[in-house]
């Protein structure tokens, strides 16, 4: 009798058994064989570019189906002569958790004072190319398809001299070619570094960007012949000079045209609304995303966009500097947003945020949020109580209409401190959950393996466009599994100075079958997938469906 009762109770016990939380496990350099370290060129002169870099990327440069890694480093500039050669790094994924440095063979070492990277197949030849932003001028590396790249910057016309930060590939005019938005930071050169000192400390510190002149960002139209036309002025982008960092291409009004949300440091953020016909209108003020309370501009750095509450409208996120709070802008439709950060605000009051990304870390179908932090001023601890130079990572889980701080249960790495900057998202071990790569200022990078995200069921989509832009930016994916129905817009950019795995992992929680997947491509084509397989990556060809 007793055994019968036990047997009856057993399934119940299993039901209530709590699953172990999803965690992120640090992959040590000894394991990954990633020995590259960022050199921030830190100097007694406290030149501003030293403190804002750098970015990183997950990309599959050799089309072997595994995410490789690219890091951006500092390099020679008008204020910095490296004592030893510095270079960006491309690491080939060996499919076994290790990576091999192939930078020199690939010819992508950079050699400038690097900032960020944006990876995409701009010429539609099936190979992922690299655009590297710098303090100085930028580099476009065209992928030759044989493991090597060629610097085609001059031919393409995208050098964008000055100080560029984030770059975003997207198709603003829906002509099926990837255009390029490049954020510009302040006007700066060696002679433009004012003396910012703390009289009590008798030491120089990094000047706040408020002291420097803003610069217009750039928009390059892809002509489709390997060259680009600078359309910054005619598009309206250049009409709003800023001190721009993070940028994300998204569609805030569901009109099928990709808009741009751009974070500015010590200036109002920009929301460039795509009006069609190649024109953008900056509507940050009326949308309520430009300023903090009291109309005070904040120090916007990292950004991202996602429909976090599943209402069908893209919400926005921007990370600011300490005491300014980070903002989660809920889309109220009609081009109006309200800041509803919930638990994120108190958790970030003392932090300065850079890399960040909405993604479904536990494959339950909704976007969660990962934040990478670090204060730009290395002397902040002697100047402001409780604010640290190195700061912790944060993980927030989506609870439906808000976010819950789950950092404490998400792994030991969340109790460590970093000078975090760039952050890229990608499934480097192809196990069906997104891993995280961060690039830290003056420190080794951090590769974090997602442990347990794939306990829920999933499908990974590699979208192969035939009529739309090669990255399928702007595609809308809708999937249903039982009562779970989700929609995701394929955005571009987001985070800070970094570039992400282009594949889309669709989580379905504990459901064991995906009822349907629909992909509405930017071209307008609709693909419906029936009986898609579970827990594996598949290629979806525009107009043909599953390959």
């Amino acid at each position: 009798m007793f055994i019968r009762v036990l047997i009856c109770l057993l399934p119940l016990a299993l039901l209530f058994q709590t699953r172990p939380p999803v965690t992120f496990e640090e992959v040590p350099a000894a394991t990954s064989k990633i020995s590259w370290v960022h050199d921030n060129a830190h100097s007694p002169d406290r030149q501003l570019p030293e403190t804002v870099g750098a970015g990183c990327a997950f990309l599959d440069y050799d089309n072997d189906g595994w995410m490789d890694i690219y890091f951006v480093n500092s390099g020679p500039s008008d204020f910095f002569t490296p004592s030893k050669p510095l270079k960006n790094a491309l690491y080939h994924n060996n499919h076994d958790g290790t990576f091999t440095d192939v930078t020199d063979k690939a010819g992508v070492a950079g050699g400038k004072f690097g900032m960020g990277v944006a990876a995409a197949d701009y010429d539609g030849d099936g190979n992922i190319d690299l655009y590297v932003t710098n303090y100085g001028s930028n580099i476009l590396y065209r992928n030759n398809g044989d493991g090597t790249f060629t610097d085609v910057t001059d031919k393409a016309g995208v050098s964008a001299p000055g100080w560029s930060t984030c770059a975003t590939w997207f198709d603003y005019d829906n002509d099926a070619k990837l255009d390029l938005f490049v954020s510009s930071f302040v006007f700066y050169d060696k002679s433009q570094n004012p003396l910012c000192t703390d009289p009590t400390l008798q030491r120089r510190y990094y000047c706040v960007p408020r002291l420097f002149k803003p610069q217009p960002s750039r928009l390059f139209h892809n002509r489709g012949d390997g060259t680009f036309q600078d359309v910054s002025r005619e598009s309206g982008i250049a009409g709003s000079p800023g001190k721009s960092f993070g940028a994300v291409a998204t569609d805030v009004n569901n009109d099928g045209l990709m808009d741009l949300f751009v974070a500015n440091d010590t200036m109002p953020n920009f929301l460039f609304l795509n009006k069609g016909g190649g024109k953008f209108e900056e509507i940050g003020l009326s949308a309520g995303v430009a300023y903090g309370e009291a109309g005070r501009p904040r120090s916007g750095m990292g950004v991202d966009a996602a429909d976090y509450d599943g209402d069908g409208w893209q919400d926005l996120f921007v990370a600011n500097i300490d005491q300014e709070f980070f903002s989660l802008y809920h889309n109220e439709k009609e081009l109006i947003f309200t800041d509803q950060p919930g638990e994120i605000a108190p958790a970030t009051q003392l932090l300065s945020g850079w890399g960040l990304k909405f993604f479904d870390y536990d494959n339950d179908g909704d976007p969660d949020l990962f934040l990478v932090n670090g204060h730009p001023d290395d002397m902040i601890e002697s100047r402001v109580p409780r604010v640290r130079h190195k700061e912790q990572l944060l993980m927030f889980e989506n609870t439906g209409r808000a976010f819950k701080d789950v950092s404490a249960r998400s792994g030991a790495v969340f109790s460590k401190m970093f000078s975090g900057r760039g952050m890229a998202l990608g499934d480097f071990d192809n196990d069906g959950d997104d891993d995280v790569l961060t690039s830290n200022n003056g420190e080794p990078p951090l590769l974090l393996r997602n442990q347990g995200g794939n306990r829920n069921n999933w499908i990974g989509l590699q979208l192969v466009a035939t009529k739309s832009n090669p990255a399928a930016v702007g595609a809308v994916i809708t999937w249903q599994a039982g009562t779970l129905k989700r929609t995701r817009l394929k955005t571009s950019g987001g985070s800070y100075l970094s570039s992400h795995d282009p594949r889309e992992i669709l989580g379905i929680g504990s459901a064991t079958k995906i009822d349907s997947i629909e992909i509405r491509w930017p071209s307008g084509k609709l693909d419906k997938l029936t009986n898609p397989p579970l827990n594996k990556y598949v290629k979806v060809i525009e107009g043909s469906g599953l390959k």
């Binding site: 003020l285 009326s286 309370e293």
Partner: protein, 431 residues
């Protein structure tokens, strides 16, 4: 009942303070005693020690013995008055001091004691003639001058107060009491800079002060002229001297809050609430701190606790409205802001928040009405102009929006608005 307990505690506290003053005056007696017989002098020295050590029964025994021989001896009467004051037998104390003063018209000690006694009893007008008598005998008696200045200051007679503080200061430039009084006069006259100068001198002089009461008073005054560092330091020292005094904790919490350190302020208010869970000021301030840390759920809890029925100040409704606004409940926020505005029609911040909630609910006409009123009430407050700009931008009046943003730029250049990152105005600084 609790109020009674608090008030008797306050009275006992005041009595203790006065007794301290009496103890100081003992020194005067000792000087007078030198003129008396040597054996009596010895007795009085002993009595002074006994009183100081709170051995009142023994002191009284000695004094009774002396008074049996010389019933009208002024010094003995004055001592016995002091004993009675320490025993809180104020009527008898007054009678003894009066007898002592009558018997020796040149003896200032009992008159000073009477002055302290009258202040303690809440009849400062009766203290004035006593102090004037003292000053007639000793025109440079700084203690009497400062005390008289304090009484006139409390009566808001700034001119007479100043007339007494200044000669005290002329006698000694280091007279902290006189400087403190002059600082308050300057502040009341709106001369904040002068007040700060006086208070800076007081701060230097009171570095080693052992009087927590004075440090507390100084701390509050320093806050009134935005000298938050000095206020914090004085209140910290007051708290070191009297670690369990709730008013000091509250004062320090407010000073820390005004310095913009929300985390430390939160700790102090929580400490105070551990001592006095129903302290409405502590609840209000903790709620305010949590509101600024965007911890809305807990902020609401404390703010609602602080709002005693019928006595809630407009700020409480305003703060609770902000919490509701942040929790996306604009309908409730509007009710709360309306209550704040009803209580205080000139409350610009509440009107700004009210306008903002109407804007969020897309009632642009009401939003405009409230926001335009708010910027008229407080043209220096950037939040009003910003929300008005937002509204104009939304109702497609971009030029007006730009004008409002330009006003914000000008205000920023002037340094208007608070720069601490704390957007919401704190409760009134007086604990």
């Amino acid at each position: 009942m609790k109020r009674n307990t608090a008030s008797s505690h306050k009275k006992a506290q005041k009595a203790q303070d006065v007794v301290l003053c009496f103890m100081c005056i003992l020194c005067l007696f000792v000087a007078n005693v030198r003129a008396q017989r040597t054996d009596v002098v010895k007795i009085f020295e002993q009595v002074a020690t006994l009183i100081r050590d709170n051995r009142l029964a023994e002191a009284e025994k000695e004094l009774t013995a002396v008074l049996r021989v010389e019933p009208d001896l002024p010094v003995a009467l004055n001592f016995l008055g002091t004993v009675r004051a320490k025993q809180s037998r104020l009527v008898e104390a007054e009678s003894l001091f009066l007898r002592a003063a009558r018997n020796d018209k040149s003896f200032t000690g009992p008159r000073m004691n009477l002055a302290y006694l009258y202040v303690l009893k809440g009849t400062p007008d009766k203290a004035i003639p006593q102090l004037q008598e003292v000053l007639a005998l000793e025109p440079e008696n700084a203690e009497a001058l400062v005390m008289l200045g304090d009484i006139y200051l409390a009566k808001n007679d700034l001119q007479k107060a100043e007339e007494n503080y200044l000669p005290a200061l002329n006698r000694s430039l280091d007279n902290a009491g006189a400087l403190f009084g002059l600082a308050q006069i300057s502040r009341l006259k709106g001369e904040t800079r002068e007040a700060a100068i006086y208070l800076n001198r007081v701060a230097t002089l009171s570095t080693d002060s052992k009087s927590p009461e004075f440090l507390y008073k100084f701390g509050l005054e320093a806050m009134r002229v935005n000298m938050f560092d000095e206020a914090k330091s004085a209140l910290e020292r007051a708290l070191e001297l009297k670690p369990k005094e709730p008013s000091y904790l509250l004062g320090l919490g407010i000073a820390v809050l005004r310095k913009g350190d929300l985390f430390e302020a939160e700790k102090l208010f929580r400490r105070l609430l551990a001592m006095q869970p129903n302290n409405p000021q502590a609840q209000l301030h903790l709620g305010y701190v949590l509101l600024n840390q965007k911890k809305y759920a807990e902020a609401r809890l404390w703010l609602e606790k602080s709002a005693r029925p019928g006595v809630a100040i407009p700020e409480v409704f305003y703060y609770l409205g902000l919490v509701a606004q942040e929790q996306n409940d604009d309908a409730r926020a509007i009710v709360l802001f309306e209550k704040a505005v009803q209580k205080l029609p000139d409350y610009a911040h509440a009107r700004i928040a009210l306008g903002t909630s109407y804007m969020r609910l897309k009632n642009y006409a009401r939003a405009r009405q409230e926001l335009e009123t708010a910027v008229k009430l407080d043209p220096e407050e950037p939040t009003g102009h910003y929300n008005l700009a937002l509204l104009y931008a939304r109702i497609k009046e971009p030029e007006r929006a730009q004008q409002e943003m330009q006003i914000i730029e000008k205000l920023k250049a002037k340094g208007a608005g608070n720069g601490s990152g704390v957007v919401v105005l704190p409760p009134k600084p007086n604990p």
